[in-house]
């Protein structure tokens, strides 16, 4: 017990103490303490009795004993549990419970680590789950049709006239039905709008004129009642209607007795015969389904293309075979009928028809989400690696005490998977918020958006993703542990040093570089999409949308049978409005810009006239004299239309600049007469003026020829009322409604909105893409910065002793900061380089999302690299400064 006696036996005690660690886990810490205590007693007595040699003999005997017992205990451990199956299962289960408990206990000791990782995973999994919901709900979920993969749209295509997918004529429908054996059935429909008056105000609803067998071809039985009969496809027999589930719910309170009730549609009584099932929609969604009738000799009006044809492929028939059959049929029809020349039927699978336009953006967004998820996983993995380096001693001890490598790997896998599952649970909350956001941001062009939301498939997806991510992260962490297994034992002998740190650092550098690279790809992609959007926002539409409010109305033909009656109706409405204070200008037109096209051919009126299908296509607009001033479309040549341009005076036309350039008549332009292929126009008409171009087809489209006819010289039905005012939209809208209802209370004014919203709707999809990509890129930046910060902090704390030595050997503080910063920037730099390559590759897939924007933009790339470079340097700077503030003395004293 005295100081002089103790030192000589201490070395023996130390050897024995270390040797004790080789014992299997079944011999616990208490056992070790007891054995050591006893050895100490023996050694002391041996020392007292016989000096150093006696102590050595005692030690050798004790070590031999230890080795024997260790082997015996291991053998006992291996054979002890009875290998009965039930017992084995139970122990596996209880081991699992033990592992889970152990993980939770460890988290309690490192709450920041646990929370950071879980929240990061929640973010990543939440994003991925929300995106999954969008893709699943919109693209993947089966269409509400029977065997929808056999349904195809059949469009009339004329590439010379720039009409790749045009509706066709009833004549073609009947010709195709007769001859096309590749289809088991063909049907047709045409979209329109209709005024429904039952209880309450009349309302304008989207409607579809459906050929009687449409629902049979689609394979959609009604939820209530029946669909159409063949006898109802005859004019006069068609006073029936099938309503959508939405109207049935909203207007009739889901009354099962609604079938058989009579409602008023477009001033005509019609009997409700059926209700469609929920979720049924051809695009766009329609609320009223009316029988499609042809009250003219369809074979004499082969040029009337207004019906969309849908067909079901016959059993065994492939789409390619059906297409070549239709090609042959189109050729023979073109040979027989001049009006069919240049037209060819093209088949488009219905899925592509409905989702073709959103598929690419959604896939791009899904890939972006995948990248964010990868970055999130990389961050959490980093945390795990950093954390497992600090717990190498713990793992080494467990290993030395007999825990098999498999046992340790399992522990790591369970920890990371458990964390990922917790992350997924929280992630469902994130996903819930995000799907709501998608609903808000929905550009209106996202079909079936109502399917997007938190549901069972999404939860399953999130869970599966969590398990995969958790196992993957656990596997990487475990791989690292196994690799440094051998060094672990050495690490144990060293006591406190962190020998596994070097491999860990290399892996962490790879992870950081990957994060930076992925963030570059996302940020650069957002840059391109954002630039494309900014480009669109700065496009001049050709008119001044500020202060313009428009509404749509349709005087029914039953009460306004001719041009004069309709013109009188509109005159009364505009007169009424002009008297309202605050309203500057009022005008009417057949069609507002960016709301579709009415295309007819035109030709200079000189003999001999070329055949009609050789005429140049142009957009027809019939407007009143105030239209140009209301829209503020500037006149560049000649005069505008006037109130004297009516049926009593010679026919005139104002054309746009593109058409003037196409005609290329020089000074002889004004006064030239043109003919238009619509029979409803007074022709020939004289060109009296030229106005500036307007983006009729959308901001992302080029200019096409447009000719404006005076309202009073055409029989085209005006539909749109446009008002310029400085008052608020609500005030203007109520004035407009008031004017219409004062003129005829049975006519609803609908789609009342600022014209800027019509433009906005065209921008909605690019805006949606830019917003989401922006959010993803921002997340990627935050996560990557956090990753760099975390790794650098960890490296600094690991290198403290080394840095102290450097400091002691004369390194300056700035030198230490630079040392740390340089290492961080090296891996970030590799990431930047990889990111540039990735961004260039990714840009090629962004093509369909970009308008007038090159996929290779050096400025955006340079900006991205700059932003990420600064962020990386900044994220590494905080820990680097900490390295600079190091107190070398205290660190060295500690170690």
């Amino acid at each position: 017990m005295t100081r002089t006696r103790r030192p000589p036996s201490r070395w023996a005690e130390e050897v024995y103490r270390r040797a004790l660690r080789l014992l299997p886990a079944s011999l616990d810490a208490e056992f070790q303490r007891d054995a050591l205590e006893m050895f100490r007693d023996s050694a002391r007595v041996a020392r007292e009795e016989g000096g150093g040699s006696r102590v050595a003999r005692t030690l050798v005997r004790a070590l031999l004993d230890l080795a024997t017992q260790s082997v015996a205990a291991r053998r006992q451990d291996a054979f002890a549990p009875a290998p009965a199956l039930s017992v084995h299962k139970e122990s596996l289960m209880s081991n699992l419970v033990m592992d889970v408990r152990y993980a939770v206990r460890r988290w309690r000791h490192a709450p920041v680590f646990a929370l950071t990782g879980t929240l990061t995973l929640a973010l990543g999994i939440g994003l991925a789950a929300a995106m999954f919901s969008v893709i699943e709900g919109v693209l993947i979920r089966p269409l509400p049709f029977h065997e929808s993969d056999r349904l195809v749209m059949i469009w009339d295509s004329n590439l010379e006239r720039n009409r790749p997918r045009s509706p066709t004529s009833p004549a073609n429908l009947f010709e195709w039905r007769r001859a096309a054996s590749g289809f088991s059935a063909l049907s047709a429909y045409a979209n329109t709008t209709a005024t429904l008056a039952s209880q309450g105000d009349p309302s304008r609803l989207d409607a579809t004129m459906a050929y009687w067998n449409l629902f049979d071809v689609l394979g959609t039985p009604p939820a209530l009642g029946r669909t159409f009969l063949e006898s109802e496809s005859v004019s006069g027999q068609d006073r029936v209607v099938v309503i959508s589930h939405r109207v049935w719910s909203a207007r009739f309170g889901r009354d099962p007795g609604v079938v058989g009730r009579t409602v008023t549609i477009n001033d005509q009584p019609r009997r409700i015969v059926g209700v469609l099932p929920q979720g049924f929609a051809l695009s766009p969604a329609s609320d009223l389904w009316l029988p499609l009738t042809f009250d003219f000799n369809v074979f004499e009006a082969r040029g009337a293309r207004f019906i969309s044809v849908i067909g079901r492929l016959a059993g065994g028939s492939q789409i390619a075979a059906a297409q070549s059959q239709m090609d042959a049929l189109s050729a023979s029809l073109a040979a027989a009928h001049p009006v069919n020349r240049g037209w060819r039927a093209v088949l488009v699978p219905i899925r592509e028809q409905m989702f073709g336009s959103v598929q690419t953006p959604l896939v791009v967004l899904a890939v972006a989400v995948g990248l964010v998820m990868l970055i999130a996983c990389a961050n959490v993995l980093n945390l795990h690696i950093a954390h497992s380096s600090t717990r190498q001693r713990e793992l080494a001890l467990r290993r030395a005490l007999g825990a098999s490598p498999a046992r340790l790997v399992r522990q790591l896998l369970i920890e990371s998977t458990l964390q990922a599952i917790l992350g997924a649970a929280a992630g469902l909350g994130v996903a819930f918020g995000l799907t709501k956001l998608v609903g808000v941001l929905n550009p209106g062009t996202l079909p079936r958006a109502e399917n997007v939301g938190v549901d069972a498939p999404m939860a399953v997806f999130a869970l599966a993703l969590a398990v995969v991510a958790g196992l993957a992260m656990g596997a990487v962490a475990a791989f690292q542990v196994l690799r440094s297994n051998r060094r672990l034992r050495a690490g144990l002998a060293d006591g406190v040093t962190h020998t596994g740190a070097r491999t860990g650092r290399r892996l962490r550098d790879v992870v950081v570089a990957t994060e930076v690279a992925l963030a570059v790809v996302l940020l650069a992609s957002w840059g391109l999409v954002g630039r494309s959007l900014v480009g669109l926002l700065t496009v001049d539409p050709g008119f001044d949308p500020a202060g313009l409010v428009a509404g749509t109305l349709a005087p029914p033909a039953s009460r306004y049978p001719d041009t004069a009656a309709r013109a009188a109706f509109f005159d009364r409405v505009t007169e009424h409005l002009r008297g309202v204070p605050g309203i500057d200008r009022v005008s009417v037109t057949t069609r507002l810009p960016m709301t579709g096209s009415t295309s007819f051919g035109y030709v200079i009126d000189r003999q001999p006239l070329p055949p009609m299908n050789a005429w140049t296509p142009g957009q027809l607009r019939a407007v009143d004299p105030d239209y140009f001033e209301t829209m503020r479309i500037p006149l560049t040549q000649g005069r505008l239309l006037g109130s004297s341009d009516d049926a009593r005076n010679p026919a005139v036309v104002v054309i746009n600049a593109t058409m003037a350039r196409d005609l290329n008549l020089g000074p002889a332009l004004l006064g030239t007469k043109i003919r238009i292929s619509s029979g409803d126009v007074m022709c020939p008409c004289e060109i009296v003026g030229v106005v500036a171009d307007v983006r009729e087809n959308g901001l992302d489209e080029g200019f096409t020829p447009v000719y404006y006819l005076p309202q009073a010289q055409s029989i085209w039905t005006m539909r749109s009322l446009v008002v310029r005012s400085t008052a608020s939209t609500a005030v203007v809208a109520s004035a407009m409604r008031g004017a219409v209802s004062a003129t005829d209370p049975a006519i609803p004014l609908y789609d009342v909105q600022p014209i800027s919203r019509i433009i906005d709707r065209r921008l909605a999809l690019p805006r949606f893409n830019a917003w989401l990509l922006g959010v993803f890129a921002a997340l990627a930046l935050v996560l990557a910065s956090l990753g760099i910060y975390g790794v650098t902090s960890f490296v600094v704390s690991q290198r403290m002793p080394e840095l102290s030595v450097r400091m002691a050997l004369g390194s300056t503080r700035a030198g230490l900061v630079w040392l740390v910063e340089r290492q961080a920037m090296l891996s970030a730099g590799v990431g930047l380089l990889l990111g540039i390559i990735g961004a260039l590759a990714a840009a090629r897939f962004l093509g369909p999302l970009l308008v007038n924007t090159s996929t290779v933009d050096p400025w955006i790339l340079a900006g991205t690299v700059g932003v990420l470079g600064v962020l990386s340097a900044g994220a590494a700077l905080l820990p680097a400064l900490r390295a600079g503030r190091i107190d070398a003395n205290s660190v060295l004293r500690q170690s």
């Binding site: 017990m1 014992l23 011999l27 208490e30 056992f31 303490r33 007891d34 054995a35 050591l36 205590e37 006893m38 050895f39 007693d41 023996s42 005997r61 004790a62 031999l64 004993d65 230890l66 024997t68 017992q69 260790s70 015996a72 205990a73």
Partner: protein, 123 residues
């Protein structure tokens, strides 16, 4: 705590060292080194338990309930405060007695076969 005869029988036979441990604890509570010394003395050095072996046996005896850790500490010795003292349980005593009876019957058999001289005679 009453135990069935079968419980006692199930513990038999004891390993030689286990028998010695129980025997030594039957005299009174001891810690590890004290136990080793007692055993060494009783067997005249023929059984000299080393720490790992001794504690592994004690562990087993504790697991099956023949020995328990004593709550008593000898405060006089500062270092002893960390030491665990052990004592034999009632069940341990029963097993010890049963083992002794078993050994006696074996010795009797050896005597009957004239392998050993009768008890009381010199060897």
């Amino acid at each position: 705590m009453t135990r069935h005869l079968a419980d006692v029988e199930a513990q038999l036979p004891l390993k030689a060292l286990e028998f010695e441990i129980l025997l030594a604890l039957h005299e009174g509570e001891r810690h590890g080194y004290g136990l080793a010394k007692a055993i060494d003395a009783r067997t005249s050095g023929t059984v000299r338990p080393e720490p790992a072996n001794l504690y592994r046996r004690i562990d087993r005896l504790m697991t099956v309930g023949l020995v328990e850790a004593s709550s008593r500490r000898r405060a006089a010795d500062a270092a002893a405060e960390r030491r665990r003292y052990f004592r034999i349980t009632a069940f341990g005593s029963e097993v010890l007695a049963a083992e002794a009876r078993r050994l006696r019957s074996q010795v009797k058999a050896a005597v009957a076969h004239r392998i050993l001289p009768r008890l009381g005679r010199a060897e």
